[in-house]
Amino acid sequence: MESMSIHELTATELIQRLESGDLTSVEVVRSFLDRIEQFDEKVQAFLRVESQRALSDAERIDQRRRGGDPVGRLAGLPVAVKDVICTEGQPTTCASRMLQHFTPPYDATVIRRLKQADAILIGKTNMDEFAMGGTTESSTLATTCNPWDLQRVPGGSSGGAAACLAAGMAPLSIGSDTGGSIRQPASFCGVHGLKPTYGLVSRYGLIAFASSLDQIGPLARNAEDLALLLEVLAGHDPSDSTSANLPVPEYSQLVSQPLDGLTLGVVREHFGEGLDSEVQAAVREALRVYESLGATVKDISLPHSRYAIATYYIIACCEASSNLARYDGVHYGYRTDEAAMLADLVAEQRALASRGEATALDDIDSPLVRMYRQTRSEGFGAEVKRRIMLGTYALSHGYYDAYYVKALKVRRLIRNDFDAAFREVDLIAGPVAPTPAYRLGEKTEDPLAMYLGDLYTVSANLAGICALSVPCGLSSDGLPIGLQLQGPPLDEQRLLRAARMYQAVTDWHTRRPEGF
C-alpha cells in the first residue's frame, strides 16, 4: 500500500488493514508523521509531536500483533491530544505561558483509556489559552491556521484538534468542549466533533476551565470513527465525582443502524439575526436531506436560549476564576523573576520613604503578594485575565446573588426548555456557528463579537446534553459549514446514527481542503 494514501483512509478502515496485516502500525504512524512534517509548518496544529515515542510504541504494537497477542480497540492507530489533557511525563501547557514548562506526573483517565486501547499518542494540539476562546488565537505558543484557508482561524478552542484532522495529519483526535470548543472548530474545519453528555467521559486530568461545563470528546472525519473513539473514551471513573456510573453502549456497532421515524426539531430562535445566509441555506438543505430519508422536521422553541450567552459567560467565568487561582507561582508553573521583582520592590520602598509617603509605604505589596501579582500578570494572556476578572467580580460579595445565583436559575430554565423539547422531538438540528471561519485577527479586538459566535453551542453545555457537528456544506468562499445535532442526555448513540444516516447520502465529509 502506498504511504501517500494512508492518510485518506478512515480510522475504521485503517484498523481493518492493521488487523488484516495489509499495513503495519509503523507504516501508519510514519505516514502521519510525514504529513505533519510536510504540512504542520503551515497549519501549526501541533504544539509538540512525539515522533520517536510514537514510532517505538507503533513498533511494539506491531510486534505484539505479529506474535498473536491480543491488542486493544485502537491498536496502532495515531491519536492527537489537545494540550489541555494531562499526559504523564509529557508537557501539558494549555497553550499558556503559565504552564509552558509544566509536565504532569500523571495521565488523565482518557489518556489511560487510550493507552489501554493501544492507541499511539502522536502529539499534543494547539488550543486557545486554557480553552478560552473560539479561534485558537489566544494560544500564547503558536498560531494555528485553517487548512481550508490559511488566512483564517481553525475555530477554537480545540483548533489544533480539528485542523490536524482536516489536514490529514492524524486520523483521530480528542478535544474538550466547554461552550462549543469541539463542535465549532469541527464545523470550521469540515470534520466531525462530538460533545458528550456531561458525565459520560471522565474529566480527571482535563485541566479545568469551567468544571460544570467541561467535557472531553472525540473529533474524527466521519461518524463511524467518532463512534469508535467515543466508545474508548466513555465510561465511569471513580476519580471523577461527576462521572456517570452507567454501562457504555457499543456506539461503533450501533452507528450504522439508521433511525426510523426520526423527528428533528428546528429551533425558531436559531434562525434569527446574525445567522449568515449561506450557513442558513446549508442547514436548511441538510434538513431537506433528512426529510428525504423519512425524517419529520418540526418547529420548536427554546424560549430561554436568548439568555444562554449571558448565563454561560457568568457561570464559565465564575468557575474559571476559581479553577485558575492555583496558578500562583508557588508550587509549579511560571513564576516571575524573583530577583528583579525584589529589586523593584526595594527601589519602590526607598522612593516612597525618601518622599515621606508613609501611607503608600505601609500599603505596598509584601514580596509574596507582589510575586502573585506579577506571576499572574505575566503568566496569563489577555482573554484569560478578562475571564478571571469577570468571574471574580460576579462572585464578589454583593454581586453573587445578582449574577451567579441568577445564572444558575436561568441555567435550570434552559435545561427545562430542552427537556420539554425532547418530549416532542428526538433530536434538535441547527447551525453550529453563525458564520464559517473568521479571518485571523478579525475578532481579536472585539471579545463580545467572539462571545456571540457561541450562540448555538453553549446551551448544550449549560443543559448538560450531548451534541455533535457534522459537515454539511461549503460557503462560496470554499469554507466548511457544520450542522449541529443535539440530543437528550446520554443519547449519543442516536446522535451518531443520525450523523451516519446523513453521511451515507452526502459527501461533505469526504471533501478535503485544497493542497492537503
Binding site: 506526573p105 471523577d240 508557588v330
Partner: protein, 497 residues
C-alpha cells in the same frame, strides 16, 4: 472571681482533625510526622486536572459527632470553595461548607463537679467538614527570609465546631473544651492531640458592661495561638481584665468607631495577649458551590443507624455510675473524665470485687497515680482488673491492711505480677480469720489489764495490743486486730454474766 460590673461573653471555634486513615478528598495517608511532602498526590497538592472524591469515612465520623452534639442534620448538604491566596493552600481555595453545613443548632452540656459554675447548655451554632491547609514554616533569619511548605497535612479532614457565645467565664470555656474533647474521645472520632494540631481552638471574647444607660457590649476580640486548654482559660481571664481596663479608659463600645473586631495572639511565655497585625484586606472569600463534588444526601435511615451506633456518652455514663453503682457525682466525674477505657476497667473492677466504692477509691488514688507517674494509659496498665479485684477482695475480707495492700499493688504495677506472686516476693502473707483470732486470744490472755480497761469502757486501751500483734505477725491488719479483740472481750464479758 469576676468583677460584678461586667459579664464575660465567650464563644469558641474548635477545629478537630478526624481520625481517618486517608485524607478528605484523596487517598493519601493522614499520618502525623512523616518527612515533608511525602504524603501527597496530584489531588491534595492541587495539580492541574486533578479532581476531589469525598472520603465517606470522614463524613461518617463528622455525622457521628454532629449527632452526639445534638445537632440538627439536614437531608442535603454541599461543598463550597472558600477562596483566598496563601502558599500553603495549593488550589487557591479550601473545600469547606458555607451556607448549607452538614449540621447546626446543637448543644453540649457542661458542669463542674465541684460546683464552680451552675450546669449549663452551651449552644453549638454549627459543625461542618472542611479540608486542612498545608503547613508553612517561616525561616526568620534577618534579611534572608525563606519559607518552606509541607503539604502532608493538606486535605486532612477537619470538623469545625462553632459554639454560640454562651460561656460566661474562663472556667466555663475550659470546661466546654474539656467536655468536648472527652466526647470526641468517647466517640473515637479524633485523637484530639493539641501538640500535633489535631485540635485547635480560637476564641471570641467581649464583655457586657453594666452602665447607668444599661448593658453595653465591648468590641469583640478573636484570640488565637492558644496551645492548651489551660492557655485558653488564662487567655480568657487576661482578656477580660484587659478589655475592662480598655473600656474604662476609652468607653468604646462594639460597633462604635474603633469598635470593630480585632485579632490578638496568646503569648504563652509572657502570659498575655498581643495584637496581631492584619493587613486591611476584605474577608470576601467568594464562596460558591464546588462544581467538582456532588452534594451529600443524608437519609433518616442513615441517621437512625448513627444514633444506634453512638454508644454510651460521658453524660449518660456519669449518671449511670451514680445510680447503678452508688458513686457520688464528683467521683463519677473523675472516672468518666479519664475516658471510656478507664470506665470499663472501673466497671470490671467494681463488678468482680463487688465493692464499687472501694473500686472507685483505688482507681482514683492508686491506679491514676501510677498511670500519671508512668505516663501510661489504662490499656497499657500492667495490672488486670481481675488481679486488682482479687487484691481488693483480700483487703475487704480484712486479710490485708490497706498499707500492705498498697505495697502489693505497687509491686504488681511494677512487675505485672499477680497478687499471690507479688505477695510472695514481698514476703507478705494474707492472714486468715482463724489465724488472726488465735493471735488475738493469745494477746488478750497475756494482757489482762488491757482487757480490764476495755471492760471498764476504755476501748482505746486496745491500741497497746496492735503494736504487739504487728510484731508477732507483720501481716496482721491493725483494724481487724482492734475489731477482733473488742469482740473477744465482749464475748468474754457476756460469757461471765
Amino acid at each position: 472571681m469576676s468583677d460584678p460590673s461586667y459579664e464575660i461573653v465567650i464563644g469558641l471555634e474548635v477545629h478537630v482533625q478526624l481520625q481517618t486513615a486517608t485524607k478528605l478528598f484523596c487517598r493519601c495517608s493522614t499520618r502525623f510526622g512523616a518527612p515533608p511532602n511525602t504524603q501527597t498526590c496530584p489531588v491534595c497538592i492541587g495539580l492541574p486536572g486533578s479532581l476531589p472524591v469525598m472520603n465517606r469515612q470522614a463524613f461518617a465520623l463528622a455525622l457521628k459527632t454532629a449527632v452526639a452534639l445534638n445537632c440538627q442534620i439536614p437531608g442535603f448538604t454541599k461543598w463550597d470553595r472558600k477562596q483566598y491566596y496563601y502558599p500553603d493552600l495549593p488550589k487557591g481555595y479550601q473545600i469547606s461548607q458555607f451556607d448549607l453545613p452538614m449540621s447546626q443548632h446543637g448543644y453540649l452540656e457542661i458542669n463542674d463537679a465541684k460546683g464552680a459554675f451552675a450546669p449549663k447548655r452551651v449552644g453549638i451554632l454549627r459543625a461542618h467538614l472542611e479540608e486542612d491547609a498545608g503547613k508553612s514554616m517561616h525561616d526568620e533569619l534577618a534579611g534572608k527570609a525563606d519559607s518552606r511548605i509541607d503539604l502532608n497535612r493538606t486535605g486532612t479532614p477537619l470538623l469545625e465546631i462553632v459554639s454560640q457565645p454562651d460561656m460566661r467565664s474562663p472556667q466555663e470555656a475550659r470546661a466546654y473544651l474539656t467536655e468536648l474533647k472527652l466526647l470526641l474521645t468517647y466517640l473515637g472520632v479524633s485523637d484530639c492531640n493539641m501538640q500535633e494540631g489535631s485540635l485547635r481552638v480560637d476564641a471570641n471574647i467581649n464583655l457586657h458592661v453594666a452602665t447607668s444607660q444599661g448593658t453595653v457590649a465591648t468590641p469583640i476580640v478573636e484570640v488565637k495561638n492558644m496551645n492548651s486548654f489551660r492557655a485558653v482559660e488564662r487567655a480568657m481571664a487576661f482578656e477580660a481584665t484587659r478589655q475592662f481596663d480598655v473600656w474604662k479608659d476609652t468607653r468604646i463600645a462594639l460597633g462604635a468607631p474603633g469598635g470593630h473586631k480585632t485579632t490578638r495572639g496568646w503569648d504563652e511565655q509572657a502570659q498575655m495577649t498581643r495584637p496581631q497585625r492584619q493587613k486591611e484586606e476584605s474577608s470576601d472569600y467568594r464562596y460558591f458551590p464546588d462544581p467538582d463534588l456532588a452534594p451529600v444526601i443524608v437519609t433518616d435511615q442513615q441517621l437512625d443507624a448513627v444514633r444506634a451506633d453512638l454508644g454510651e456518652l460521658p453524660a449518660a455514663l456519669r449518671t449511670r455510675l451514680q445510680t447503678e453503682w452508688g458513686i457520688d457525682a464528683y467521683d463519677a466525674d473523675v472516672i468518666v473524665n479519664q475516658g471510656r477505657a478507664f470506665v470499663d476497667y472501673f466497671l470490671a473492677l467494681a463488678n468482680i470485687s463487688g465493692d464499687a466504692k472501694r473500686a472507685s477509691n483505688w482507681m482514683q488514688q492508686d491506679v491514676l497515680r501510677v498511670l500519671n507517674e508512668r505516663a501510661l494509659t489504662i490499656d497499657l496498665f500492667p495490672v488486670s482488673s481481675t488481679s486488682l479485684a482479687q487484691l481488693l477482695k483480700t483487703v475487704q475480707q480484712g486479710e490485708l491492711d490497706t498499707s500492705r495492700a498498697r505495697d502489693v499493688f505497687n509491686a504488681m504495677a511494677e512487675s505485672g505480677d499477680s497478687m499471690p506472686q507479688a505477695m510472695q516476693s514481698l514476703g507478705i502473707q494474707a492472714v486468715h480469720g482463724d489465724e488472726l483470732a488465735d493471735l488475738c486470744r493469745e494477746l488478750l490472755e497475756a494482757n489482762p489489764s488491757v482487757v480490764a480497761d476495755v471492760q471498764a469502757g476504755k476501748d482505746k486501751a486496745i491500741g497497746a495490743l496492735i503494736g504487739q500483734a504487728k510484731r508477732r505477725n507483720p501481716n496482721a491488719n491493725p483494724n481487724q486486730v482492734r475489731q477482733l479483740c473488742l469482740e473477744l472481750i465482749r464475748e468474754q464479758g457476756s460469757a461471765q454474766e
